[in-house]
Amino acid sequence: MAVLLMGKSGSGKTSMRSIIFANYIARDTRRLGATIDVEHSHVRFLGNLVLNLWDCGGQDTFMENYFTSQRDNIFRNVEVLIYVFDVESRELEKDMHYYQSCLEAILQNSPDAKIFCLVHKMDLVQEDQRDLIFKEREEDLRRLSRPLECACFRTSIWDETLYKAWSSIVYQLIPNVQQLEMNLRNFAQIIEADEVLLFERATFLVISHYQCKEQRDIHRFEKISNIIKQFKLSCSKLAASFQSMEVRNSNFAAFIDIFTSNTYVMVVMSDPSIPSAATLINIRNARKHFEKLERVDGPKHSLLMR
């Protein structure tokens, strides 16, 4: 089962992949060279999940190859197609042409694949224009993609939007996510937390969450992913490894800690009367339960490698 990463040359595919899965910071991606043909990576996710990522070089000569001689090889057994559009591209028609060729091939070979369109490099667009431009693109893409459905995201490697897109993508691939969410809800209710988030350990993508109250910032998940991931990488540059963090003021207390062998947890409490120690003990006790969950569901649900 493959995850295809496609898009015109220079649109940002390898950069994204490097940031999410290979611990690059945004600045590092400047060093990357053009991807030649296809770069295959097997990424371990949540311990027993293996994402078979196909980063496909976007030069015309490669693209044309993918739709002709390599067509069956590339588009068969695809679980997710991620198509990256450079928002600044001057060749909109060509972009759409390639996108549609992709969709055709998917329809023929992997009709059940989930499709994500990332409108990337949004940081290059003026801030007040971003929403408008994204909306336009999204409409066009939705229309063009019929009868297939696509989920669109606006992204940039320079802010948290990258994490939102990839969290959503990866969320689709986790087999037992409902059960995870149910358990998380129970946990949150027992300890009287306002919100509980579960992150994947290496990528810091949010894979599950529970909230009991409405919160103001709908983008808080990806912002936290971004902040903590950056912090984690900074720590490793000093040969230290990030383990846990407590942030509190008079209105709330937030705890971020290693949870199971493959996850981190973030617990937000707004009842100031509950002492930290209590919450930490609760987290510790919950750990064992969630570890068991991970192990039990493990082998049965791991994505088969292609």
Binding site: L32, A34, I36, D37, Q59, T61, T68
Partner: protein, 371 residues
């Protein structure tokens, strides 16, 4: 040799071909992974045969921040018919890869929009001249000129043994000594068609292995050929090629002028042919001389043998001793396996032919084979 193509990244067409469309789109799609390659295959000579065509190229990668995508990838290659032997082109491809790399590093020749235009005309000239003359001199700009030559591949020369005798195939005086290396220059005077390698080494005062290598080098270029040590006890026999002396007028001329004793009238074909035919298993050179004194009046028997060997008209029958029973008293058995000739054994042990012969004839455990 057909077209020449160049592939690169970035703006502009990725594939430049001379002549245009020599390679079909289909063919290019099939082989492109070997033309613009992943890092593991870069800077290596790669030959791909597909769809009746053979492509020889050397993908180059130059990494630098100044390039969009941080690197420049290109490949200048040759395309010819799949059945053609392309090894002579390989050094040229590598040389061109080197030239272009230098040009790019020095003045951005390939990445620069203007100079890039020169590529097609350059490739055109390359193609025409290499196909027509086998060489090409190409001025690129004021400071750079490309010189290329298609060098014929010769087969590897055989190993030269210490008992082999080098003899010049052309007139010795035709060679400019100064163009050869010092070792070769030192041994040249001792190559007379009679001295064997070991003797040359001793007399020229050059280490044996060096002489062997130098002679092997001369052999590769066809300057000398190898014959065996001439002794009057040698036995020769004719080969089917001996008929050529009669049939091939050219060879005949060459032969007669070579074997005639200096200062004498030209030897007759009849005499010479009779002499060659007189060589057979069991007949030594000594025997030949005693039987054909008349025919040898105007013929130098040594040069007769030499010519016959050089041209393959006759071949030497060597003696190979084989030890058939174990006996501690005899000499090292390792040389008596049937693979080492008398010539070789004498050279290696320093014994004379006569001594060796006496020793072996009297040894009941040893049988001597002629071959």
């Amino acid at each position: 040799v057909g077209g020449v193509c160049r592939v690169g990244w970035g703006t502009g067409p990725p594939l430049l071909q001379v002549p245009e469309d020599f390679i079909s789109r289909e063919l290019f799609d099939t082989v492109q992974v070997y033309v613009i390659t992943k890092p593991e295959l870069q800077n290596k000579l790669i030959t791909v045969t597909a769809m009746e065509k053979k492509l020889i190229g050397c993908p180059v990668c130059i990494e630098h921040k100044k390039y969009s995508r941080n690197a420049l990838l290109f490949n200048l290659g040759f395309v010819c018919d799949a059945r053609a032997k392309a090894c002579a082109l390989e050094p040229i491809v590598k040389k061109l890869a080197g030239y272009l790399t230098t040009l790019e590093l020095e003045s951005g020749f390939i990445s620069n929009k203007e100079s890039k235009q020169k590529l097609v005309p350059i490739m055109t000239i390359l193609l025409e001249e290499l196909n027509a003359k086998g060489k090409c001199t190409l001025p690129i700009d004021e400071s750079n000129t490309i010189h290329l030559k298609v060098i014929e591949q010769r087969p590897d020369p055989p190993i030269v043994q210490e008992y082999d005798v080098p003899v010049f195939t052309q007139n010795k005086d035709d060679f400019f000594n100064s163009q050869w290396d010092l070792t070769t220059q030192q041994i040249l005077p001792y190559i007379d068609g009679f001295r064997h390698v070991q003797k040359i080494s001793a007399e020229a005062d050059v280490e044996l292995n060096l002489v062997r290598i130098a002679v092997q080098n001369l052999l590769y270029y066809g300057v000398v050929t190898l014959v065996s040590i001439l002794q009057y006890s040698n036995v020769y026999c004719t080969t089917p090629k001996v008929q050529d002396v009669v049939d091939d007028k050219c060879l005949q001329e060459e032969c007669l002028s070579y074997v005639t004793k200096p200062g004498h009238k030209r030897a007759s074909l009849r005499d010479v042919f009779q002499l060659y035919c007189g060589l057979s298993p069991g007949t030594t050179v000594r025997d030949l001389i005693s039987r054909y004194t008349l025919q040898l009046q105007r013929v130098d028997e040594r040069r007769l043998i030499q010519f016959g060997l050089m041209k393959g008209l006759i071949r030497r029958l060597q003696k190979y001793p084989v030890k058939v029973a174990q006996d501690e008293r005899s000499l090292p058995a390792r040389l008596y396996t049937g693979c080492h000739s008398y010539d070789e054994i004498c050279c290696k042990t320093g014994m004379s032919y006569k001594e060796l012969d006496e020793r072996l004839e009297n040894d009941p455990n040893i049988i001597v084979c002629w071959k």
